[in-house]
């Protein structure tokens, strides 16, 4: 249940989902980096490209939450 909730939160805001799932600093660093990059691209370069990167980050992190937690079990 906690895995599903964390994956869902990761879709909406990737760093928080990763934090909730307790995946570790490497994943958190990656999630924060990609999220900042997506937001920066959205506001500074291309709105559409930023959104797509943000979406990809969310999907990647949600997948990581599910995959890593399953393996831990």
């Amino acid at each position: 249940m906690k895995t599903a909730l964390a994956a869902f939160v990761a879709l909406i805001f990737p760093p928080l989902g990763v934090l909730l799932a307790g995946l570790g600093r490497a994943y958190l660093f990656l999630a924060v980096l990609l999220t900042i990059a997506a937001v920066a691209i959205f506001f500074l370069l291309y709105a559409g490209v930023g959104l797509i990167l943000y979406g990809i980050t969310g999907v990647l992190m949600a997948a990581a939450v599910i995959f890593v937690r399953k393996r831990k079990k």
């Binding site: 506001f43 291309y46 709105a47 559409g48 490209v49 930023g50 959104l51």
Partner: protein, 522 residues
Amino acid sequence: MADFIDARTDFDGEEVEGSIAIIGAGAAGITLARELSKANREVILIESGGLELEGDTQALYAGQNLGLPYFNLAACRLRYFGGTTNHWAGYCRANDEVDYMERPEVGLPGWPITHDDLAPYVARAATSLGIADDFFDPAKLIADKGFAVDDLGERQSPILETKVAQIAEDIRLGKNHRDELQANPNVRIFLHANATNINLVPSGNAVDHIAIRTLNGRSFRVRAKRFIIACHAIENARLLLSSNDVAKEGIGNASDHVGRHFMDHIYITASRFYPSASFPKLYDRMVLRKERLNANLGFTDKELQKSGLLQYYLRFIPRFLSETNRSSFENVQAGFFEPGSLQYLRDLAAVATDPIGALKLAYSKRSPGRFVPDHYDLEHRIEQAPNADCRVVLSENTDVLGSRIADLDFKISDYDIDTLARAQELMAREVSALGWGRFQLETIDRSLVESRFLGHYHNIGTTRMASDPTNGVCNSDSQVFGVDNLYMAGSSLFPSAGYSGPTMMLIALSLRLADHIGRVEA
């Protein structure tokens, strides 16, 4: 190859002389220069702008809208080589026979020439614009694109007629004919040369010369046997009205027609149409556009006369999303490569509330007609009745060249409102009877029309042709009444706007004028 002459720097004489002087290098001026030079006439072509749009020259078109809020007068026409064809959309269709007829019941004065007089020139104009030979056969045009001819309104109703326009591709006349004119030794083209005054001989029955000024302070005169003014409808009137040193009321203005009867093809968006399965897709605005055709639903000549209507046509605009979501969709799409904002996110959220509609709209832009829209918005388009009070007037203010600025007092007449209201009802009744769908009608009245109307940058009238001087400015040969060697060219000559866009028709009139001058000089 002769170069263009930049009047600001390349010419320091006081006078230039030729056989024929043409003022304005737009659709009419370029057509006339090509035709007359081919016939070995020595042509001087005077253009106010350069080869590209320039702000200081374009600003000479600035004027006030004194009446209803018409377009920005400095933006609805272009003042450089090629003229307003530089932003022309390319819609071409010949006027109907009824467009030339006198119809006092709707305020139409009739043309001093007939449909048949102009038909050969319309065909030549169409050919010069790359329009197909079957220009006059809408059914064939439709069939060629794979649509069922039996779907056409005229096949199912005695009063409906499909008005099919072709969208020409090769429409930037300045760019298209620049090299040809430059290579022709019979043509001398002056750029950045502004005609500021038409100087008549003391008796007033002929032009002596035209005064030219440049924005950097130079000036010279153009002398010729014949002068043709082809500067666009508003500017044509401005030149005649402001050249009042001999004829005090302005040249050709003894009957007070110069500048009056300004017209556009106005339209309003009102009412909705919910289509049934039998509604022919060819009337969907987006479907035929990709085939470079445009089909609108109008009435037959006979029905227009019987019902006392001006030309009216209905355009069906497919809608897949609500008004708010549609504008959000456009913003999201348009802003994809722009840096984002919170408004972009809000627009995205609005679109996300109807993802199916958004997907249909996106797909329909690529493949029009694939999905049936939720409804169609209806654009009602009319020719305006000529109205003496809808007019170009000279301002007390002057531009940087010292010429009085042309303002526009734009008005919509009772004939226009009446046609919009009654034609909508007639069309709704007929289309509903065919089982094509149902209408949700709004009441069209003056307040609705005045708050929503738009035009097409079709500036028509102001120096209209007529069979006698009491009814117009020019005769059937485009010659200004009472001035032997002065001709007008362009849509300012049209006594009525008719159904079609003016560009191809004014090219046809210019070809006719070139032939006339050829005959007179021979």
